[in-house]
């Protein structure tokens, strides 16, 4: 682990340890009371889910078209994080929905498209794990298609149904709610970068060991 990763990890850990106090200090919302506070973890993880998906798509494009071997490690790391943060988003969302809407799941545009994007990245990981030799390129093609598909999924599902609170809620939040929210976004971003760097580094080292083994076999 590099020193900068270690510093970021310590910082992220410290921020997450303090997060409950920050969230507790935020005022209760008028209609939903305490329940809305899951939003402080839900929204940052949803954002990281999107960032991870886009990062994986871009890294895959670099791997495929520019033939950068190291980009594959980044794509895989980002793909795994997309599944991780996606799972987190899809667990915290229904927990809130149960209290706010009275049901665990609604076929709302944002929920459904998040679920579909999550499915695409689960399929990506399954392909990487069980595809056998050459699955790095197949995975790259899939992640690239997945990224290109996001607007289509969103538009089609949006036209099909809509319930979710609008995104425009964020800039209108009162300051006492806004501070813990941005605090949590920062903590999640740090966590995302730390995990991405560690996982990509691991993958690069694995690729190097594999290359060394191949060299050893040849000699």
């Amino acid at each position: 682990m590099t020193r900068s990763t270690l510093v970021m990890l310590a910082l992220a850990a410290g921020m997450f340890a303090l997060a409950p106090w920050m969230i507790n200090a935020a005022p209760n919302e008028a209609t939903m009371g305490l329940v809305y506070k899951i939003y402080f973890f839900h929204m940052p993880s949803a954002w990281m889910f999107m960032v991870a998906a886009i990062a994986s798509g871009i890294a895959s494009a670099r791997f495929l078209f520019l033939k950068r071997p190291s980009a594959d490690g980044w794509a895989l790391a980002a793909g795994e994080l997309a599944v991780l943060f996606g799972a987190f988003t899809l667990v915290t969302g229904p927990l809130w929905a149960r209290k706010a809407w009275g049901v665990w799941w609604v076929w709302d545009a944002r929920l459904t498209s998040s679920l579909m994007l999550f499915m695409i990245f689960v399929a990506y990981l399954l392909l990487r794990k069980y595809g056998g030799p050459g699955s790095d390129k197949l995975g790259a093609g899939m992640a690239l298609f997945g990224m290109a598909n996001v607007p289509f999924i969103y538009v089609s599902v949006n036209y099909w149904r809509t319930f979710h609170p609008l995104t425009s809620v964020v800039p209108t939040l009162p300051v006492e709610m806004g501070i813990p929210l941005w605090y949590c976004v920062t903590a999640f971003t740090l966590l995302f970068i730390v995990l991405l760097r560690m996982r990509a580094r691991l993958e690069h080292q694995r690729a190097r060991v594999e290359a060394l083994y191949l060299l050893e076999d040849e000699s």
């Binding site: 078209f65 579909m116 056998g132 089609s156 099909w160």
Partner: protein, 228 residues
């Protein structure tokens, strides 16, 4: 340049058609499979002898997706058998032209399947398939091209992969969700007692856009992903 491209594509189509015409293996099995899918879903979705709302459109598109997956898998299994895909890739031809040839062959196959499937659904569910025939054909064409464009690329990529049979639908279905939604909603709008043409046209437009983006992307990625 352009002529050579389409000539290669046409040769691939002709090759696939010649093989298929001799045995009719993929066509006959896929059509029969599509018919069984329609029946299986009918038993689940017809209550007291009456189909649920919009069920005809849903069953039609699920059957297209399932039989499309089967046709894609079988077509490339054939190429895998004697490692003929490698021979195709070794040929001094544009890689994207090979993709277009494969895509056209599978599209033709699925068009024939739909020629049986659509009248069957119309018959079993009293769906007005001829009232706005042009819109229905546009939806079917747009949806099938979108589904097959992604599917042909994925099936080709998976030829050398392990567990390809299960990986193809796993990768293909989440990716073609927009096609399914557009196809089902558009067709359902046409099958209503008073057809909603504006809705159908919106979905036809979305499908057209999807097709353009994904055919372009597939042409673009086919070469790098198929290179060893």
């Amino acid at each position: 340049m352009m002529r050579a491209f389409f000539r290669v594509a046409w040769i691939v189509v002709k090759k696939d058609l010649t093989i298929e015409v001799r045995s009719l293996e993929i066509l006959s099995t896929t059509i029969f499979f599509a018919v069984t899918v329609v029946l299986m879903f009918s038993f689940g979705l017809v209550v007291d002898g009456r189909p649920l709302n919009d069920v005809a459109a849903a069953i039609l598109w699920v059957a297209i997706a399932f039989s499309g997956t089967l046709a894609l898998g079988r077509t490339f299994e054939r190429e895998r058998h004697n490692d003929t895909l490698r021979a195709l890739l070794l040929a001094p031809a544009d890689r994207p032209a090979l993709y277009v040839g494969k895509l056209a062959g599978i599209l033709l196959l699925l068009a024939l399947v739909e020629l049986v499937l659509v009248p069957l659904v119309g018959l079993l569910f009293a769906a007005p398939i001829f009232v706005h025939g042009f819109h229905l054909v546009a939806l079917l064409a747009g949806g099938t091209i979108g589904f097959t464009a992604v599917g042909t690329l994925f099936a080709a990529m998976l030829v050398r992969a392990r567990s390809r049979d299960v990986l193809l639908p796993i990768m293909l279905y989440p990716m073609t969700v927009p096609v399914m939604i557009a196809g089902v909603r558009g067709t359902a709008a046409l099958f209503q007692p008073t057809p909603d043409l504006a809705v159908a046209q919106f979905w036809i437009g979305l499908l057209g856009f999807f097709d353009v983006v994904f055919v372009t992307l597939a042409l673009w990625t086919f070469d790098p992903v198929m290179t060893d």
